[in-house]
C-alpha cells in the first residue's frame, strides 16, 4: 500500500497491535515513549528495530524483560546507523541467497539527540552516504537525559542543563541548536522530515513515507522531556504543539532535497499573525526560567531573533515568503 492510499484513522491506530509494549520504565510524561509507540504503529510489515544507547533503550530492555514485540538490537551509543547498515546488508544478501523468509524487512534505527547530533553523526553520515535502505528516527529531547540532563548539539540556546547551568557568569547554553535535519538534507538523501507528536497523523504519515522510500530516510521528531526540561509532565504534548506554533520547531519535509512545509507550519506561513512569540513556548519550562530575569533579556531576544531568522530561511527554501 502506498502512502497516498494509506489513510490512518484513530480507529486503525487503536486496532493495530502495539509493537512497543507497555510496561517500559519511561518517566511520566515522557514524549519519546509516545513517539516510539506511534512510530511502531505506522510500520507496514516485518520490521527490525535498532537503538542507540539512551533513555528509550534503557527503559525498554531491562533484562529479562522487553517492551519490543519486534526483533530489536542495541550495541552502543554511537552505533544506531552502523547497526542499521549491518542489518540491512545482512537482509540484502540473505535475500539474494534465498535465506530470508520474508519478501522484505524494514529497518528502523532510533537514537536520541546525543546519538544523532553528536557521538552518532559519523556513523549516520556514513550510512546515508552509502545509501542503506533504512529509516533513522531522531527523538530529540534536547539534552543527554539518560545520563542526567547534559547539553548536546541539539540543546537550544539559553537552556540550562547540568553541563550548561544557568550561572551568575554564563546564563545557560550560549551556542545554538545544530540544524541537524538540514545537515541530512545536504547529504542529498531521498527523504528528510521533521515532526511533532502533537500532530500525530503528520508524524505517522512521515514514518510510512520514510519506510517506503528506497534508500535512507531521516525523521527528526520533537520529543519533550519533563524531567530534563523541568516542565509539567502533563504538558509534554502541549509543548510539542507550542514548539510548532512559535516556529521554534517547524514541521516540514524534503523529498529528494525539495523542501515543503507540512500543514501545521504551512498554516502559519499563510497566516503569520497566528505565529506565537517564543515566550509562549519557553515559559513554564524550568530550563528557561532564568531567561525571564531582567539581566537575561538580551538572551531572550536572541532566542526570538534566531527563531525568526531560521523560519525565514526555511520559508525561502520552501519557496514561500512571509509578510511582516
Amino acid at each position: 500500500m502506498t502512502t497516498q492510499e494509506w489513510k490512518f484513522t484513530t480507529k486503525d491506530i487503536a486496532e493495530k497491535p502495539d509493537l512497543f509494549l507497555s510496561g517500559h520504565r519511561a518517566c511520566a510524561g515522557c514524549a519519546p515513549a509516545t513517539v516510539l509507540r506511534l512510530i511502531m504503529k505506522a510500520t507496514r510489515g516485518p520490521t527490525i528495530v535498532t537503538e542507540s544507547t539512551g533513555c528509550m533503550e534503557v527503559v525498554s530492555s531491562i533484562y529479562p524483560y522487553t517492551s519490543w514485540a519486534t526483533p530489536w538490537l542495541h550495541t552502543a551509543f554511537e552505533t544506531a546507523a552502523s547497526n542499521a547498515s549491518g542489518i540491512e546488508a545482512a537482509l540484502k544478501i540473505m535475500k539474494k541467497k534465498g535465506r530470508l523468509k520474508q519478501e522484505h524487512v524494514d529497518v528502523i534505527a532510533f537514537a536520541g539527540d546525543g546519538g544523532t547530533y553528536d557521538i552518532g553523526i559519523q556513523a549516520l553520515s556514513g550510512a546515508v552516504e552509502r545509501g542503506h535502505d533504512f529509516l533513522f528516527v531522531l527523538y530529540d529531547n534536547e539534552a543527554y537525559m539518560n545520563t542526567g540532563i547534559q547539553r548536546s548539539g541539539g540543546t537550544p540556546h539559553g537552556a540550562a542543563t547540568t553541563t550548561s547551568p544557568a550561572g551568575t557568569a554564563i546564563p545557560g547554553k550560549l551556542e545554538y541548536k545544530k540544524p541537524i535535519a538540514e545537515i541530512m538534507v545536504a547529504h542529498e538523501m531521498p527523504y528528510v522530515a521533521t515532526a511533532s507528536p502533537y500532530y500525530w497523523r503528520d508524524l505517522i504519515t512521515k514514518v510510512r513515507k520514510g519506510l517506503e522510500v528506497n534508500g535512507p530516510a531521516f525523521l527528526h521528531v520533537f520529543a519533550p522531556c519533563p524531567r530534563g526540561w523541568r516542565s509539567d509532565p502533563a504538558r509534554s504534548i502541549e509543548y510539542a504543539k507550542l514548539a510548532v506554533e512559535t516556529c521554534v520547531f517547524p514541521v516540514w519535509e524534503a523529498v529528494n532535497g525539495v523542501h515543503q512545509l507540512s500543514t501545521p507550519s504551512k498554516l502559519l506561513a499563510l497566516a503569520p499573525q497566528k505565529k506565537k512569540p517564543v515566550t509562549d513556548y519557553l515559559k513554564g519550562q524550568g530550563r528557561f526560567r532564568h531567561l525571564f530575569k531582567p539581566q537575561n533579556k538580551k538572551m531572550l531576544e536572541e532566542v526570538q531573533s534566531m527563531t525568526d531568522e531560521r523560519w525565514q530561511r526555511l520559508l525561502a527554501k520552501c519557496g514561500m515568503t512571509q509578510k511582516s
Partner: protein
C-alpha cells in the same frame, strides 16, 4: 581418515591469503576500513566483489568502529561476517570488541599486527592485539602465510561452534607476513565451503517463554543487546568465560579435522611444541618469529644443546594445561613479548607464563625478552643469545635481569 584433497599452490602474501580464505568461506557480509598493513585484504576482497567472484555484501564503512559494528549487527541478523584491521583501527574498535563478544556474535577478524602510535609507526609488533587481550575474543597468531590461510578458514568453524559462539581474531605480523609473498597451498572452493558449512544458531528462550534461534528474525522477535543490571550482568560474563573454556577443545578438534583434509596441522591447534621432549632450555613466542627460532633451535641441537621452542598459536583462551605439560621438563624458559606493558612486571605473555608455573614444583626459571617493537628487526644472532642466556642461568643458578630488551639502543 579422509585422504588429503587436491590443492593448488599459489603465491600469496599474508594479506592475500586472508582475502582468499575469506572468499572461499562463503562470507555473507564484509564491512571493513583500510589501514596499513591490512589494506591489501580490503582491496583484494573489493576486487572479488567487483568481479562477481563472491556472493558477499561488502560494506565500505567510514571507520573501523562502524566496520565492527556493522559486522556485529549483520551477524546478529544471521549473516556470516568478516572484517580485518590493524593498530589504530583495532584500538578504535575497542569498545565494540566487548559488545561483539558480549552479544555472542561469531565475527571473524584478521589483524595485521602493527605498532600503536605515538610516534606513529606502520610496522609489525603485537601491541595492538595484546591491548585487546581481555575483550572476550579468541586470539590466534599465525607463523606464516600458509597458516594465515588455514587459520582464517578454521576461525569460522571455531567462532560459530554452538559451544563457543565467540568472535575470533587471527593475527599475522605486519609486513613480515602481511606483505611477504609465500607459497600457499590452497584448498578448492568446494572443500572449504564444505568444511566451514552453513552457520547454525542455538535455540534460546524468548521473552514469551518459547525457544527460537538466536538471531533477529521477525518471526521470532528477540531483544539482543539488552540492559542487564546487578541481578543478571555477572551471569552473562560467566557464560562468556565458559564459552572460552569450551573453545579449547573445539580449536583442537577443528585443527585435527582440518589436518585430515589438508594434511596440515599446527601442533594441537593451541600450541606447537618444537624439540621440547627432552629440552632443558626453551623459548616461548608468538607469530612469525617462531620460523627463525626453529632454525636457531636446529643449529643449537646440532651443537648438542638441548634447546626447544613453544609457539603459542592460541593466546586466548590460554591453554594453561597444554603449556605446562609441554614445558614440563624444561629448566629455563625465555618468554618473548613483541609488546610492552608499561609499568608492568614484564610483557603480557611473560605475565601469563610466570604465573602459570607458580604452583609447579620445581618450576623453571622464567625470564622475559621484549623485542621487535615498531618492526625492529631481530637478528638470528640476537635470538641465539637468548638461549645462551638461558644456559648461563642454568649454570650459575642465578637470574641477573629477569626482563630484558633485545636489539635496543640503551
Amino acid at each position: 581418515m579422509k585422504s588429503v584433497v587436491k590443492q593448488e599452490r599459489m603465491a600469496l602474501s599474508g594479506d592475500e591469503a586472508v582475502a582468499y580464505a575469506a572468499k572461499q568461506s562463503d562470507v555473507d557480509v564484509v564491512a571493513a576500513y583500510p589501514i596499513t598493513p591490512q589494506t591489501i585484504i580490503v582491496e583484494k576482497f573489493s576486487e572479488y566483489v567487483a568481479n562477481g567472484e563472491v556472493e558477499t555484501e561488502f560494506v565500505c564503512v567510514e571507520s573501523e568502529h562502524s566496520a565492527l559494528t556493522a559486522c556485529l549487527a549483520a551477524s546478529a541478523t544471521g549473516a556470516r561476517t568478516f572484517t580485518a584491521t590493524a593498530s589504530a583501527g583495532l584500538a578504535l574498535m575497542h569498545e565494540m570488541l566487548f559488545v561483539t563478544s558480549g552479544c555472542r556474535a561469531p565475527v571473524v577478524m584478521a589483524i595485521a599486527n602493527r605498532a600503536l602510535s605515538a610516534p606513529i609507526n606502520i610496522h609489525g609488533d603485537h601491541s595492538d592485539s595484546m591491548a585487546q587481550r581481555d575483550s572476550g575474543w579468541i586470539q590466534m597468531y599465525a607463523e606464516n602465510a600458509q597458516e594465515v590461510y588455514d587459520s582464517i578458514i578454521q576461525a569460522f568453524r571455531i567462532a560459530e561452534d554452538l559451544n563457543v559462539l565467540l568472535p575470533v581474531m587471527v593475527g599475522l605480523d605486519g609486513f613480515t607476513l602481511s606483505h611477504t609473498l609465500e607459497n600457499v597451498e590452497a584448498l578448492t572452493d568446494d572443500v572449504v565451503k564444505q568444511f566451514v558449512g552453513t552457520r547454525q544458531f542455538p535455540d534460546v528462550l524468548t521473552h514469551e517463554g518459547t525457544t527460537a534461534p538466536f538471531k533477529l528474525d521477525p518471526e521470532n522477535p528477540m531483544t539482543i543487546g539488552p540492559l542487564a543490571l546487578q541481578n543478571y550482568y555477572f551471569e552473562f560474563k560467566r557464560q562468556q568465560e565458559e564459552a572460552m573454556a569450551n573453545s579449547l577443545s573445539v580449536i583442537q578438534k577443528v585443527n585435527s579435522e582440518y589436518a585430515e583434509i589438508s594434511g596440515r596441522s599446527y601442533g594441537n591447534g593451541l600450541i606447537e611444541a618444537y624439540c621440547l621432549e627432552d629440552a632443558e632450555v626453551a623459548a616461548v613466542c608468538l607469530g612469525s618469529t617462531a620460523g627463525t627460532m626453529k632454525t636457531i633451535v636446529d643449529g643449537l641441537r646440532q651443537e648438542g644443546i638441548k634447546a626447544g621452542l613453544l609457539r603459542l598459536r592460541t593466546f586466548r583462551p590460554l591453554p594453561v594445561e597444554e603449556i605446562r605439560s609441554a614445558l614440563g621438563n624444561v629448566k629455563a624458559v625465555a618468554v618473548m613479548d613483541r609488546c610492552i606493558s608499561f609499568g608492568g612486571n614484564g610483557g603480557p605473555v611473560f605475565h601469563e607464563m610466570r604465573h602459570m608455573f607458580y604452583d609447579v614444583n620445581p618450576h623453571p626459571y622464567v625470564v622475559n625478552y621484549i623485542y621487535g617493537l615498531g618492526g625492529r628487526d631481530t637478528s638470528p644472532t640476537e635470538l641465539r643469545s637468548i638461549y645462551e642466556d638461558l644456559q648461563r642461568i642454568l649454570k650459575t643458578r642465578r637470574v641477573e635481569t629477569p626482563i630484558q630488551y633485545l636489539g635496543l639502543r640503551e
